[in-house]
């Protein structure tokens, strides 16, 4: 079962939402409806589902309906139509008491402008969600301190929010959302009010936390770089509708229409593309089984000047160059004598932005080797593949690399 299932979710702001719904169903655009009736279509028949533990980013420019959409999920804004199911329970049909219960136990929310209570201390802020549930003082104090510990602010428990910097305030916001250990985090432009350096730190920290917590995160942002950095999948919104849903790579390499294309054209590809997506499979030479002549033949056949040498378990050992193979064949050296063992080794999910400097350090002398967790050979990245990818074409999306995104 999916963690969150959203179906046909619609919100129309104005005097006569029923009429608005009718117009929406007739396929009229947001602009037409506004001109005709003065009503605003906030969110237009949106459907998507999110897996447990997934980071689902909803991205769009201001006015695209993304902030409305996230508020429809916990009903800070009431939907005009459609359903939101969490663990199979329909949130949109809950009575106020059930709704309060699910807000208290299952969801935490982080706000763009932090929304910390200025009259409460940092700890009291973090305790708020526990306090309204009537949890005893000592227990909620303990939980609040644990939660503050997660974001590294346990020493600021007795400060006032206005004594903290923006980044620290948002950590408090995050700790408050985590305090009752919810399954689902709703983050509305959580890092948008922070300056770029702090923002990047917070993104890293969120990803760190996420790797251990495995929450289901709905993350709203207008910043494509942010979306690409943290999203497992991204939904791109325009005029209240979802234009495309996909992994960061799918969105970049295969935009659904010209709007998405325009949106992503300025993206720094090196941050998104991974070694896995631009590597190619490589012929390997098994050490101890095959000799230099086989190596030379493989190079000729593949049109390269190197061959990867692996053990019988396919673990990567080194790179054999054409010159090396010749020396082995003519001067009686062993393959191990001439192997290049300090090759650049990366994993499939290493971004090209990390790969590039490593290869540059070695003057691009040899291809980079892509290995899996057990150091088994997966493929190689040659210099040309990087530049081809950066030029925006020739991105290899063979079946293996798709899964790693």
């Amino acid at each position: 079962m999916k963690k969150i299932e959203v179906e046909n979710l619609t919100r129309i702001f104005g005097r006569n939402p029923t009429k608005g719904l009718e117009l929406v169903r007739q396929g009229k655009s947001k602009e037409e409806i506004l001109k005709e009736t003065g009503m605003t279509v906030g969110v237009n028949r949106v459907s998507f589902s999110v897996d447990a533990g997934e980071v689902f980013v909803i991205m769009g420019l201001s006015g695209s309906g993304k902030s409305t959409l996230v508020r429809l999920l916990n009903r800070l804004i009431e939907p005009t139509e459609g359903s939101v199911r969490m663990d199979g329970e329909d949130v949109s049909r809950m009575d106020p008491q059930e709704l309060r219960q699910i807000r208290r136990t299952k969801m935490g929310m982080v706000f763009q402008r932090f929304a910390l209570f200025p009259h409460k201390s940092v700890r009291e802020n973090v305790e708020y969600g526990l306090e309204v549930q009537g949890i005893p003082k000592e227990e909620r104090k303990e939980k609040a301190l644990t939660s503050l510990g997660l974001v590294g602010l346990e020493n600021y428990a007795d400060s006032r929010p206005d004594q903290l910097s923006g980044g620290m305030q948002q950590r408090v916001g995050l700790a408050r959302a985590l305090a009752n250990d919810p399954d689902i985090l709703l983050m509305d432009e959580a890092f948008s009010a922070l300056d770029p350096l702090i923002r990047k730190d917070m993104q890293d920290e969120l990803m760190d936390l996420q790797s251990t917590m495995q929450k289901t995160i709905i993350f709203i942002t207008h910043d494509l770089d942010e979306a690409l950095r943290i999203g497992d999948r991204i939904a791109l919104m325009k005029d209240g509708e979802i234009v495309q849903i996909g992994t960061p790579e799918e969105i970049l390499t295969n935009p659904a229409n010209s709007y998405v294309e325009k949106f992503v054209e300025d993206v720094n590809l090196t941050k998104v593309l991974t070694a896995g997506s631009i590597m190619k499979r490589s012929e390997a030479l098994v050490l101890g089984k095959e000799g230099p002549r086989v190596a030379l033949k493989r190079m000729r056949g593949g049109g390269t000047s190197t061959v990867m040498v692996v053990g019988r378990d396919r673990k990567f050992i080194g790179i054999l160059t054409a010159e090396g193979a010749k020396e082995v064949a003519e001067n009686g050296k062993t393959i191990e004598d001439v192997l290049i063992k300090d090759a650049v080794m990366v994993h499939e999910d290493t971004p090209v932005s990390d790969l590039l400097p490593k290869m540059a350090e070695k003057q691009f002398a040899h291809p980079a080797v892509v290995v899996d967790q057990q150091e088994k050979l997966r493929g190689v990245v040659v210099r040309g593949a990087i530049f081809a990818a950066l030029a925006g074409n020739g991105v290899k999306t063979d079946a293996d690399s798709q899964g790693s995104a």
Binding site: L76, R100, M109, Q133
Partner: protein
């Protein structure tokens, strides 16, 4: 043919008559609440010798406010006592405190209600405008009809005249709480009472206190006017000096009122300023 005058005055007269005849039970109930309250404050203010009471009030000023306010309180009240106006001042203070207390008890819930409901706000706003702009003397007439002469109609007239700022500023203070804080309170599953007491009222506190301050000032001015219907206190001195054309006595009474006004204003203002100090 000239258009006949709308007999508004007759209508109001007969309404007041009807109320006097039919709601006397209610009015006597109200009297039974107000009279002991005034008496209670009067008792507190006069149970100790004036000197002791003055020092205690100055200590209160020191605790809630700056030392300069405390010093002013001490010197000002000594002057009042020296002029022989202490007893009259305690009468006035008792009336003001009673009227303010009633205004706050009624006004804050009304303000909260107005903040939560557009409909209530739309009904209340013009009523408040009416209450505040109608010349204060006009309230005295029906008040006398319903409650006879004395302290009670004075307090009633003061409440009507002085309550609007508390209602208005409570409403305003709650509405001014930033929307994202309300969203945060909702998103973490607050009931609406929890939201009110844990978020809205604490954040609206200084605005509400500004309203209470206004209410106290207005009820002081009305209590003075109420001396015309026998409410007693410093107003009676001023009224007497007008009828006897005694400039000096009038000035003394007026000065005592000013001193009390300044003390009440400074003390209530500082109550609204720093939530941590008095919390």
């Amino acid at each position: 043919m000239p258009i006949p005058k709308v007999p508004l005055d007759q209508w109001v007269d007969s309404l007041v008559n009807w109320l006097t005849e039919n709601l006397s039970g209610l009015f006597s109930f109200i009297t039974h609440i107000i009279e002991p309250t005034v008496g209670f404050f009067q008792m507190i203010l006069t149970v100790a010798p004036p000197l002791v009471t003055i020092i205690l009030i100055s200590a209160l000023a020191l605790w809630t406010s700056r030392w300069s306010v405390a010093l002013f309180t001490l010197v000002g009240l000594f002057l009042v006592a020296n002029l022989g106006l202490w007893e009259k001042s305690t009468e006035t203070l008792s009336l003001v405190l009673t009227a303010s207390l009633i205004s706050v008890i009624l006004g804050i819930p009304l303000g909260i209600w107005a903040a939560r409901s557009q409909v209530v706000r739309r009904i209340i706003t013009p009523v408040l405008d009416f209450m505040q702009t109608m010349p204060a003397f006009v309230y005295l007439i029906p008040a006398v009809f319903f409650f006879a002469l004395g302290a009670v109609p004075g307090v009633i007239a003061s409440v009507i005249f002085a309550m609007p700022p508390t209602i208005r500023l409570t409403n305003l203070g709650i509405r001014q709480v930033p929307g994202d804080l309300i969203e945060a309170a909702d998103a973490f599953g607050s009931t609406s009472w929890q939201k009110l007491f844990k978020v809205q009222l604490p954040l609206a506190r200084s605005t509400i206190m500004a309203g209470v301050n206004q209410t106290i000032m207005l009820s002081l001015s009305m209590v003075v006017i109420s001396s015309m219907i026998g409410a007693g206190g410093l107003g009676a001195i001023v009224l007497q000096s007008i009828s006897r054309l005694e400039v000096g006595t009038g000035f003394e009474g007026g000065l005592a009122i000013v001193i009390i006004a300044i003390i009440l204003d400074r003390i209530t203002q500082s109550l609204g300023k720093d939530p941590r100090k008095v919390a």
